[in-house]
């Protein structure tokens, strides 16, 4: 009894790119992240000053921190969006295509990161207009945006996979993700401060990168176990 030769498969990179592209096209058509969650985040930024007082120096101080808190809290919802959910039938097709579970997660994470970058870009002008934060040392923020997006994208991908097929998915996901984003929040808020006061912003960037890297490695190691077989 000889087994037939397996069909030639494209590289994992090509598969990952295709998966990410599919996710982005779906999101573009559904518009959940940028047309629903982003305005929701903007509303939150608008409400905070009404709660704490519209004192200009106070808001100037609060602005960057509030921005990153909103990015993390609402960004989780971006990673848990409805178009990032495969039904059992679609999942069966993907599994039978011979796509490794790690590649599937990687493709999802890349799409998440792109969407979160866009999400950050939409909210940034809102916080600048509403809070007028101090922007000295802003070039240091340029690497912060993608690094935070990547970290949150990875954690969100993991939570989405863990909550696959659950009714409580959107309630459970944020609880699993948000406590672990603490280093992202501290890193993002400390980089510009460190730049301003002449200490070492690069160390904070390294901190965010370490988190991203550790989560990526951890997901890579456990991806195989996330393959549901029952």
């Amino acid at each position: 009894m000889t087994a037939p030769a397996p069909a030639p498969a494209p590289s994992a990179l090509r598969q990952g790119v295709e998966l990410a592209r599919k996710d982005l096209v779906l999101e573009l058509r559904a518009g959940e992240a940028l047309r629903v969650t982003a305005p929701f985040g903007a509303v939150a930024l608008l409400l905070i000053p009404l709660g704490v007082g519209s004192d200009v120096p106070l808001l100037r101080q609060l602005g960057p921190g509030m921005y990153w808190v909103i990015v993390l809290l609402f960004g989780v919802l971006v990673t848990l969006r409805q178009s990032a959910v495969e039904g059992p039938a679609q999942l069966a097709v993907l599994r039978l295509c011979g796509v490794h579970p790690g590649v599937r997660l990687a493709g999802r994470a890349v799409a998440n990161a792109v969407l979160l970058l866009a999400f950050e870009a939409v909210l940034a002008p809102v916080v600048i207009i509403l809070y007028d934060p101090e922007l000295t040392g802003w070039p240091w923020l340029l690497p912060v945006f993608p690094l935070v997006a990547a970290g949150l994208a990875l954690l969100g991908t993991l939570a989405n996979a863990l909550a696959q097929g659950m009714a409580q998915r959107t309630a459970l996901g944020p609880l699993l993700v948000v406590p672990l984003t603490l280093p992202l929040l501290l890193g993002a808020t400390q980089v510009p401060q460190a730049a301003r006061y002449g200490s070492q912003p690069a160390l904070w960037l390294l901190m965010i990168f370490t988190l991203d890297f550790a989560v990526a490695v951890a997901i890579g190691l456990v991806a195989r176990h996330l393959e549901e077989s029952a």
Partner: protein, 224 residues
């Protein structure tokens, strides 16, 4: 394909009990049984999407869950009773996505769509298509991926009289390739005419091979 004493539990509920089934190359098997008898579960098991709780299952001699078995997955086409399409992608995009994931040119996807008679509506989103059209697109998947094992759930549901022969044509194609088909259908006369033998599942416990009058002789060849 060979199952020996295979049992499957879903959420602790036993669905299949000690199933023995061997499907040979070039063979087509029809699965019949009442609602809830475990037909869909058996198909999902054959597709390697489920792992047996007990018993042995082999595909082309490769044990389920082994690396060799995983490598054979792209040669399995499983068409379940719910369409596996992304609702917000067009039919063409759906098939091209699959073509690219499996390393085939876009033209192959377009060709498969034309074959099932959907070339004219290929640029409509799946969400706006009828059940029958989605069903045909799912069958186009089975054309595209050139499977050696074709698994169809409720094969004739949702298909009009002009496209129902598509199912038989697909099965013939797979058999000609040296593969096998396992088909579930509630259209028993149609199924009986289409397959080499019928297998009845009764209460998920045992599979009895009931050879009916219309059955083509089963030639024992290599186990698939």
């Amino acid at each position: 394909m060979r199952l020996a004493g295979v049992s499957v539990d879903i959420e602790r509920v036993p669905v299949l009990r000690g199933v023995d089934l061997t499907v040979h190359r070039g063979e087509s098997v029809g699965l019949v049984g009442p609602n809830g008898s475990g037909k869909t579960t058996l198909l999902r098991l054959l597709a390697t999407l489920l792992t047996p709780a007990r018993g042995q299952a082999r595909l082309f001699g490769a044990e389920f869950g082994s690396r060799e078995c995983d490598a054979l997955r792209p040669r399995i086409a499983f068409v379940g009773h719910t369409p596996a399409l992304y609702a917000q992608l067009t039919l063409r995009e759906n098939l091209r996505f699959l073509a690219r994931l499996t390393g085939r040119p876009d033209a192959a996807a377009d060709e498969a769509l034309a074959l099932v008679g959907l070339a004219g509506v290929a640029d409509r989103r799946a969400a706006g298509c009828s059940q029958g059209m989605q069903r045909r697109t799912d069958l186009a998947r089975a054309v595209l991926t050139e499977p050696l094992l074709l698994l169809l759930d409720e094969a004739h549901t949702g298909l009009d009289s002009s496209s129902a022969p598509l199912v038989e044509a697909l099965m013939a194609q797979v058999a000609a390739r040296g593969g096998a088909s396992v088909v579930v259908s509630h259209d028993r006369p149609r199924l009986t005419a289409a397959v080499d033998r019928l297998v009845e599942i009764t209460g998920g416990r045992a599979v009895e091979n009931t050879v009916e009058d219309a059955v083509v002789s089963v030639v024992e060849r290599e186990g698939v």
